[in-house]
Symmetry: C2
Subunit: 342 residues, 2 copies
């Protein structure tokens, strides 16, 4: 057990781990403020997210490095959802004085592994003791050279689509929270879902590409789950939505975990949160082109799951055209992730 | 006892309290990111500060409104120290679920009282439950139209000067932490020092003016105390400093509290933190002009306390030309604030 590192130690750690990345950074860590230069004509985008121990993560299964990674992932996902480019981060970290040696460094290693992959520089921050657990706040700043894609641009008749696969992070949380891994699940399946929960991969490259592509009318990231986030997009657009639940893309590993735990995989996919996939509305004639473009760009899949309606409210339909209920969304540590009723 | 307000409640509160201030705000609260427009040619300045219950404040004497005020004050002070103009804030708040009704609203009232006074808009944020106490993180973004004043520009021979009076916040903390107010101190004296601790008034207007004035070579804010902060400015400038301790400006109320508690007022003025005054280096022939300018601008005093030296290190001299030791700086809740030895 050693003392929490000093601010000077932390600055040295960040400098060592981050290397020389300083695009647009006139003054980085070490003065009263960072001084930054946007590209000519660019708009600034800014987002902040807070992760609190025993609310957003548990130290029992989330390592300091995982926490650092995720604190960046959730913010990168917000920048991606605007179709913007992430640039600079400010990191505030509170943790107990009696942390083990290397924990704070491991936190920054996890943070910088993801930040550096997206060419994001840490330009400021604050550190503090904490009388309780860990608390992390990351503010991420980015640039938008095209007009940012808002939640409010969806029009009736637009197709609703999601990147990737939904429900993996909720499955991962259920596995991590279980007293022991359920029988019959392979290591690959467990790693797939727990990795999705602990180290989500935000759709940064995909978001930037979609932000410049024709046909995208609205976009947001799925942080709280489709059943919570889609009503936000619909309401912001003054519209409603209809989702075909059979089209919601679910990973095989998610289905296997749901089967093993006796829960409904669709409940995780609609009510579970933290997938950090992108939800978008687009012109019907653009879906195929967008899906092909994303596939060529990163291999990410884009799945049409429904459409924007002029009638307010969000309805979920089964394959027989009957309306089904889905849970209203994700609650941390609620233990169920959500539920779906026929 | 009621539940912590929802995110929608908080957005409504902020919108109601903040009124229509939206300069440069293309998209505010409610989408994945805020979208902001800087003035043409301006650089972005960014700072973040974290306040943690029982590390930076105690709920016994700091009301939610005080906490909100101070979370903005400490960040505004950093922007002021660059000579820049504060514009936009992102606010992250974690507090227990069982908070009393109105506490979160009171927090935002305190925050917006100071933010609005400086025309700063809250454009984003995050809220969370906390398993422990209150934690607040504010990220403040501003614009610099002139070149920002850094810590690193001081030159040997420059005069060192401070705005306002030092040691009041440390006196206030000592009074707030005392089991009972010491005998013989008037209500005005107590209010002067406790107000300085709970609701510091950052030198925003003064900082902007100094940032555009001729002769200022380096500037920073005094958040951790002169004895900690001056060595930072000197080191960043590759220089040293000599301070005449007899010239360090101390408020009468601070002296009265020090006398009543049997401590050294100078120890608070040099070793105490959280005064949020500005420390600057300037050309010797500019001091008088700068002092007159500040006096005319806001009535703030500017006091020359020493000079920048080519020899590294910071030395403190008494009136007889003898070197004296001062405490290395402020530690929260260390109970002494600092100490000075002859």
């Amino acid at each position: 057990m050693t003392e929490r590192p000093s601010e000077a130690d932390i600055i040295r750690t960040i400098t060592r781990l981050a290397g020389g990345r300083r695009r647009g950074v006139r003054v980085g860590i070490g003065d009263d403020c960072a001084v930054l230069e946007l590209a000519a004509g660019a708009r600034l985008v800014a987002t902040t997210d807070l992760l609190v121990e025993d609310v957003h993560f548990r130290r029992r299964y989330a390592s300091p490095s995982d926490i650092g990674w995720k604190a960046f992932a959730v913010n990168l996902s917000d920048i991606a959802a605007m179709g913007a480019t992430p640039r600079w981060a400010l990191v505030a970290l509170a943790c107990p004085e009696d942390g083990r040696a290397g924990e704070v460094e491991a936190f920054y290693e996890g943070a910088l592994a993801l930040a550096s992959a997206h060419d994001v520089a840490i330009v400021g921050g604050d550190t503090s003791a904490s009388s309780a657990g860990w608390m992390v706040n990351v503010t991420l700043l980015g640039e938008a050279t095209a007009a940012p894609i808002l939640r409010s641009g969806a029009r009736p008749g637009d197709v609703l689509a999601v990147t990737g696969l939904l429900g993996r992070a909720a499955a991962g949380l259920a596995i991590l929270q279980a007293p022991a891994p359920p029988h019959g699940l392979g290591a690959g399946t467990l790693a797939e879902v727990t990795g999705a929960h602990l180290r989500p991969r935000p759709r940064v490259v995909e978001g930037q590409w979609l932000g410049h592509a024709d046909g995208v009318t609205a976009m947001m990231d799925l942080s709280d789950g489709l059943a919570t986030d889609l009503p936000r997009l619909a309401a912001a657009s003054g519209a409603g939505a209809r989702v075909e639940v059979g089209r919601v893309p679910v990973h095989e590993a998610t289905r296997a975990c749901a089967h093993a735990l006796g829960v409904d995989a669709l409940a995780w996919a609609t009510g579970g949160g933290e997938d950090y996939e992108l939800l978008l509305a687009c012109a019907p004639d653009s879906v195929e082109r967008l899906a092909k473009g994303l596939a060529a760009l990163t291999g990410a899949r884009l799945t049409a799951i429904g459409e924007v309606t002029s009638t307010p409210g969000v309805r979920y339909m089964d394959g027989r055209g009957h309306e089904v209920d889905v849970a209203p969304g994700f609650e941390h540590f609620a233990g169920r992730g959500g539920r779906a009723r026929a």
